[in-house]
């Protein structure tokens, strides 16, 4: 397939729509449809409940305020589809803001040099994760956990204080507002995030790399037997995630205009939640990058709802996200265990700590999920 980038994004959506026109919905698309419905319902509820909620700018602000999360979640989605997990995302973002801030502010380096450098750094961190996971067969979450420690530790080594950025390049870019019709605007971050989304959709659904990725997530053993380049693809996946984290870090720097070791604390969990709520199966092999976008939008909507409500506090975001995560995991479980599900869900995987007899748990899971 040699679709261009722009064609790819347009082609990805029609690829999903035939499911709607069919009398029976393919269960693989159900999480995505539920997610989309949930987003519409939440945004609708907000519009009914709050004056001024239903506006294009409020909708666009979901992108403006969560562009970095979207970028990070895209990388995470790839890793999760491959059957792994990347816990280093948040701390790599923090490290990126820190390196950017210290090199640009304290050393006076040109942003034109520093930005490619931090992207390279992120990719290199991801590469190391991938190599250790692949060649030493260490569990992904342990390796990326160590990476998380390392990146946060490096942040504090650079400085334990926040470094604010006054460089004109950064302040100018962060001030840019790209005008859109109806008196609305978006920031440069949104363009970056949507660009990354298009690239990711192309990579996931229209390249050999993407197909191998899904195959590995479905069953690594089978992918190996099919002669697919498993090692290369897995390492590339973690490298891509590291690159995304660094890019998210750059977006975060534009957003916050500072570098700080405590930035983006726990963002890996938000990224995982966005991917899962977006319909990506945590056992790997199934999911859509578009779903992650909707997951991020839902995340943003929850925050906006809490903000509009005024009396609710920020910790409700965590609780609601946790509950959503629970509901979606149970839903996916029910779908995966359902009869004749078409999703490439492996029957037995090593990462599954507990393999339980399907017969006994189907009823309960289906009940809880539905």
């Amino acid at each position: 397939m040699d679709n261009g980038n722009t064609a790819a994004s347009a082609a990805a959506l029609p690829a999903l729509t035939p499911a709607h026109s069919r009398p029976r919905l393919d269960p693989r698309y159900l999480p995505l449809v539920v997610t989309l419905g949930l987003f519409v319902a939440m945004f609708g509820a907000g519009s009914v409940a709050f004056e001024g909620f239903f506006s294009l700018q409020v909708f666009l602000n979901l992108f403006v305020d969560n562009a970095f999360l979207l970028i990070a979640a895209i990388g995470m989605t790839f890793v999760i589809i491959s059957g792994g997990i990347d816990l280093s995302v948040g701390s790599v973002i923090a490290l990126t803001t820190m390196v950017l801030a210290t090199l640009v502010e304290n050393r006076g380096w040109s942003p034109a040099l520093v930005i490619p450098l931090v992207l390279l750094m992120g990719a290199a961190i991801g590469l190391v994760h991938g190599v250790v996971i692949q060649y030493f067969e260490v569990q992904p979450f342990i390796v990326t956990l160590a990476g998380m420690f390392l990146a946060r530790g490096l942040c504090y080594l650079i400085s334990i204080d926040s470094i604010s950025i006054t460089n004109p390049f950064f302040s100018d870019i962060s001030a840019v507002q790209i005008p859109l019709p109806f008196d609305t605007s978006i920031s440069v971050n949104v363009v970056m995030a949507l660009g990354m989304l298009v690239v990711a959709i192309y990579l996931a659904h229209y390249t050999r790399f993407g197909r191998t990725l899904y195959a590995i997530g479905g069953s690594e053993q089978s992918a190996l037997l099919m002669g697919l380049p498993v090692a290369r693809t897995k390492i590339l996946t973690y490298t891509f995630s590291g690159f995304c984290s660094a890019l998210a870090g750059i977006a975060f720097t534009f957003y916050m205009l500072s570098g700080y070791g405590l930035h983006a604390q726990g963002m890996e969990m938000d990224a995982i939640a966005a991917a899962v709520v977006g319909g990506t199966l945590l056992t790997g092999g199934s999911g859509y990058v578009v779903g992650t976008l909707v997951g991020v939008l839902i995340y943003g909507t929850i925050q906006t709802l809490i903000m509009f409500e005024g009396s609710l506090s920020s910790w409700w975001t965590k609780i609601v996200i946790g509950l959503l995560l629970l509901v979606f995991c149970l839903l996916q479980k029910a779908l995966a265990r359902g009869p004749r599900s078409k999703g490439p869900i492996p029957a037995t995987r090593e990462v599954n700590g507990q393999q339980l007899p399907a017969s006994a748990s189907t009823e309960r899971t289906a009940h809880a999920g539905g």
Binding site: Q139, L157, A273, L323
Partner: protein
């Protein structure tokens, strides 16, 4: 004396706690080289004081959490929600005691509920969260990392909800005894550690329970066919891990005399996993060693103390821990082990 020293060493090296012990001993000796008074223990007001006692006292919460986590890991699971449960437990305890500083009367030593009730309720709440994990994992068949991830995300929200986003200061002296008190010259927290360890050793070594847990961790299906109640064992492992996190939450909140829903027990899960791994329990289930995990927790605390005392900036701790995790997990991987084994055989053949 028929046993030669080399055989003795070889026999020791086969014990799982051998390497953690060696690591700990080396770390302690390293400290001694920097600080000649490192091993000295003095008696002041009938209490033992010294760097070693300090390390033991500070490591207490981690030792307890690591023991609970060891059982979970032995069943081929993982519990990354322990830090959140520590925060919740602290929040429950502090809220029940009530953080009112009474400036008028000067009588600040007050609690809204009796201390025993506070402890029981806190531990029950923590255990309930553990049971929640256990239910999701053993009865709904959810992956352990996901089920506990949900609690990790939600838990801090719940802790903040309980404390209403405030840092609650505790002004009730008897409560401080849990984390700071001394009994027979030793820190009271060590007695809690000893009690938990003794109970667990009794349960897992003197009954068949330990064997069952290992069977579940190695192959849950085979264990089930062999008549082991795999589901119940998994469930209770998580429940117990929650209880341990609750005990640690009591100690931590008593130690710092406050509860902070946002920051209490932050990154605790990572330290606990590190302690278990350092102790020699493999992450993919099966054989486990509780004593090893306790030693692992001590290694981490000694490492932290070392970093402070050597004069390296404390920020380095995270980097050092990261390097240690990398090295240990690489050394634990089957590939490296096999290669080392092959090398050993080669040498014997030559």
């Amino acid at each position: 004396m028929s046993v030669s020293t080399s055989e003795l060493v070889r026999g020791l090296a086969k014990k799982r706690v051998f390497w953690p012990l060696v690591t700990l001993a080396l770390l302690l000796l390293f400290n001694l080289a920097f600080n000649p008074h490192f091993f000295s223990i003095t008696i002041r007001e009938g209490h033992l004081y010294g760097s070693l006692i300090d390390i033991l006292n500070r490591a207490a919460p981690l030792m307890i959490v690591a023991m609970g986590l060891t059982l979970v890991i032995a069943t081929h699971g993982i519990d990354i929600s322990v830090g959140a449960v520590v925060a919740i437990a602290g929040a429950v305890a502090a809220t029940m005691i009530g953080g009112q500083l009474d400036l008028s009367g000067g009588a600040q030593d007050a609690t809204r509920y009796p201390l025993v009730l506070v402890i029981i309720v806190t531990l029950a709440v923590a255990m309930l969260f553990g049971m929640w994990n256990g239910m999701l994992i053993s009865f709904f068949g959810m992956q352990p990392i996901i089920a506990t991830l949900i609690l990790l995300v939600m838990g801090r929200g719940v802790a903040q909800l309980i404390t209403e986003g405030q840092i609650i200061t505790i002004y009730y002296t008897p409560y401080f005894f849990i984390g700071n008190g001394f009994l027979a010259g030793l820190p009271f927290s060590l007695f809690i550690v000893a009690a938990v360890l003794a109970l667990l050793l009794l349960l897992t070594r003197k009954t068949a329970l330990g064997l069952f847990i290992e069977a579940v961790g190695l192959n849950p299906v085979a264990a089930r066919f062999a008549g082991v109640r795999a589901r119940a064992i998994t469930f209770w492992a998580y429940a117990f891990s929650g209880l341990c996190a609750g005990i640690a939450g009591l100690i931590v909140s008593s130690n710092v005399k406050s509860a902070d829903g946002n920051n209490a027990g932050l990154l605790f899960e990572l330290d606990a996993i590190l302690a278990v791994v350092l102790g020699g329990t493999a992450l993919n289930g099966g054989r486990f060693t509780l004593v090893g995990s306790v030693l692992g927790a001590l290694i981490i605390q000694t490492l932290t103390t070392t970093i402070y005392s050597v004069g390296v900036p404390p920020e380095v701790t995270l980097v050092v821990k990261a390097v240690v995790v990398f090295l240990v997990s690489i050394l634990q991987s089957d590939k490296v082990r096999n290669r080392i084994a092959t090398l050993g055989k080669l040498r014997e053949a030559l």
